[in-house]
């Protein structure tokens, strides 16, 4: 007779004793590992305002491409994810391909930033950054690479100032916030975001992280760490894990007003897709995006489902629209080995064809 479970005593004992041994060695490894370092490429500050810094990455390779790339990252995490470590860096790959790469670092908002609006970010800081990069190229338009929420911001920015963007690239960018598989969106629908922001002011990073963890509570709060015991005696993999762990929990608070607008207009009213989005008194009309657009999304993305990203095609005016569907998740698209092999070369190839 067979059954679904075949636990042999000696195997169980081996398993448990092995786990104990790994925990013992892991404790030693954790003590010996150096402090976690993130962000590996050298970079210089070329502009800034308040807490925002605009970085230019210093390349060891000759810059051969005519148009610089400006990366616009999300507000909800730190942007060093695109340059996490030597062998996991989209930035490094783009630099190696001859691109001049810039990055907006939003900094860590504090209580004095509570009244920062989406307009302040989009028509203020992104516009300022685009200008600063463009100025270095004689006022020519730049390539904009928006990631996640930064992608949604880039779409809004490009709708408002299309003349300043040569090519638009979006990565894991939510456009349709009402797809059936969007758990975060479901949770926000009955939330009184006015009450939330009026009460908390800025939205604490820990609260945001807790929401993300509870999207998959069994895996992210428990199984992930049980799985960690498998690599506890491997210093390289352990260091990689800790680096990711740092990125996940090193999150900025969210400026209250910008959060309020983002939840109401994007998550609740889905205005980016449905229309009617107004930021800073200016109507967002994605049909004004007529330059080439490359949309990259992840097939197993639990934060931004593929359908949410794919909606971009239907709202823009560009006739030159391309998609890349990456086999992986929201995080893997930046840091997995496959991502390093596939994403930067695909971006480079796509841009090369449009230079």
């Amino acid at each position: 007779m067979s059954g679904p479970i075949d636990l042999k005593p000696e195997r169980v004992i081996q398993e448990l004793i092995g786990l104990g041994e790994r925990l013992r060695r892991g404790a030693q490894q954790l003590r010996q590992l150096p402090e976690v370092q993130v962000g590996v490429s050298d970079k210089e500050v070329i502009d800034g305002e308040d807490k925002m810094r605009l970085y230019r990455f210093v390349s060891a390779t000759k810059i051969t491409r005519k148009t610089p790339i400006l990366i616009v990252y999300a507000l909800v995490n730190r942007p060093y994810m695109v340059d996490l470590q030597e062998d996991r860096s989209i930035v490094k790959s783009l630099l190696a391909a001859g691109h001049d790469v810039y990055l907006i670092d939003w900094g860590y908002p504090d209580a004095s930033d509570r009244y920062m609006t989406l307009d302040d970010y989009i028509s203020g800081l992104i516009r300022r950054s685009v200008g600063a990069v463009s100025r270095r190229y004689g006022g020519k338009p730049v390539n904009l690479l928006g990631i996640c929420q930064g992608g949604a911001f880039s779409v809004c920015y490009t709708s408002l100032y299309p003349e300043s963007v040569k090519n638009l690239i979006t990565m894991v960018t939510p456009i349709d916030f009402h797809t059936a598989d969007n758990m975060l969106s479901n949770w926000t629908q009955q939330m009184d975001v006015d009450l939330l922001v009026d009460t908390l002011g800025n939205i604490p990073a820990d609260l945001m992280n807790w929401c993300y963890l509870t999207l998959k509570p069994y895996r992210l709060l428990q199984q992930k760490y049980v799985g960690l015991t498998d690599i506890l005696d491997n210093p390289t993999e352990l260091a990689n894990f800790l680096r990711m762990e740092k990125w996940i929990f090193d999150s900025p608070d969210q400026a209250g007003e910008a959060f309020r607008q983002f939840i109401k207009d994007f998550y609740q009213a889905n205005k980016l897709k449905n229309g009617g989005l107004v930021i800073g008194g200016k109507a967002i009309e994605p049909k004004r995006i007529t330059m080439p657009v490359l949309n990259i999304f992840a097939e197993q993305d639990h934060l931004v489902p593929p359908a949410a990203s794919r909606a971009l095609k239907g709202i823009i005016g560009s006739r030159d629209y391309s998609e890349i569907s990456f086999r992986g998740g929201h995080i893997g698209i930046y840091v997995s080995g496959r991502a390093q092999r596939e994403i930067p070369p695909a971006i480079d190839h796509w841009l090369r064809q449009r230079e």
């Binding site: 059954g3 042999k8 404790a27 954790l30 500050v45 305002e49 100025r135 479901n186 807790w210 800790l242």
Partner: protein
Amino acid sequence: MSAKATGPEAQPDWEKLRQQWWQALTAAGVPVIDQAKSWLGEGWQAPISALGATVGRPFQGEAAGRLQAATRQFLGWCHGLLNPTEAAPAMPATAAEWSNWLRQGAGPMFESINPLLTLLQGAPFGADGFDQGGLAKWLAAAGQPAEAMQAGLRDLLKLPSFGFARESEERKQEMALALLDFQTALAAYHGLLQKISQQSFGRFESKLAEREEPGRRLDSIRAVYDLWIDAAEETYAEVALSQEFREIYGKLVNRQMALRQRLQAEIERAGAEVGMPTRTELNSVHQRLHALRRQVRELEARLDSAAGASASAVPTAVAAAAPVAANSAPRRVPRSAAKQTKAAANRRQSPVAKARGPKTAAKPKAKPKVVNRPITRKPADKPMSKSTSAKKSPAAVVRRALKRLA
């Protein structure tokens, strides 16, 4: 095991042997099994505690803490798995029997130690994370509102107040009602999580049934655990995407905020009475500051527009702004970059200059100058230097803009 024993004709012997193994696994008195159980009971405490002793590396310490908590739960689950209850003394065979076995034997994993059911305990602003003392303590200090509610407390709290302290009393009544509302929402949320936990067994059983074929059977604790996680996560996802979850979750957040808002207001009142600056006052200042900043930006844009520079691809208001690196961190910028910055500063006036005449217009830069010297990284959260802030103060920008307009 001999070759003969593996043949179909030897199946009864093999099954008997499995039963013996199982008895050995679950019964006391076999030294090696007892050793393993002893390790599961107490022995694992030492290596797990060692994980926490990562002194001197705060981040590793935090990660180790999370690892500690998860492995403790996992090992608790293993312990339960190998100590079945009297209700299931025989070796389970079918998926349903296994599911039942795990539910009873490993109860703590599925019930009280289930991460889902303890979600709010560690959450910021959750049951234990609310302010410094934790909401749970606050609730304890407030007595047993749930019981009181049953005794008609709500009605009492709605009675009108009188006299000198009526306003204060009314606020306290509102706060108590908000607390009761929050407790009701919290109970509904916990009820839903409990339901998810129970439903996950049905899915787990289905998944186990798929594993009954030879070659697909689960032969390690981790494999059983992983399958249970799959089942639980899928069940959770299904419910978390439902309308019911949306409503319960929304109520939980809204009522928590309503309660918190009242608490904050009381704290602020108390602070104001002893002359402390309040959050409301600070908010007011910050709000004005941002409004002024927007006005400056608009003014700059209008000035540039008036100067006829709107045709440029470069956002012109931005072009007029001073680069930070030149002012705030000169030592961090290599000489070559500093030269570029100086040139850029000259070009700052380009939109206006262009309007005045081509001679003063900046020459477009065809190629960026590559800086190969390593640059010391600057902390992103460091505020701008005072000199920069002073130069870029709204008043200074307005003065400069007006000068340009003139």
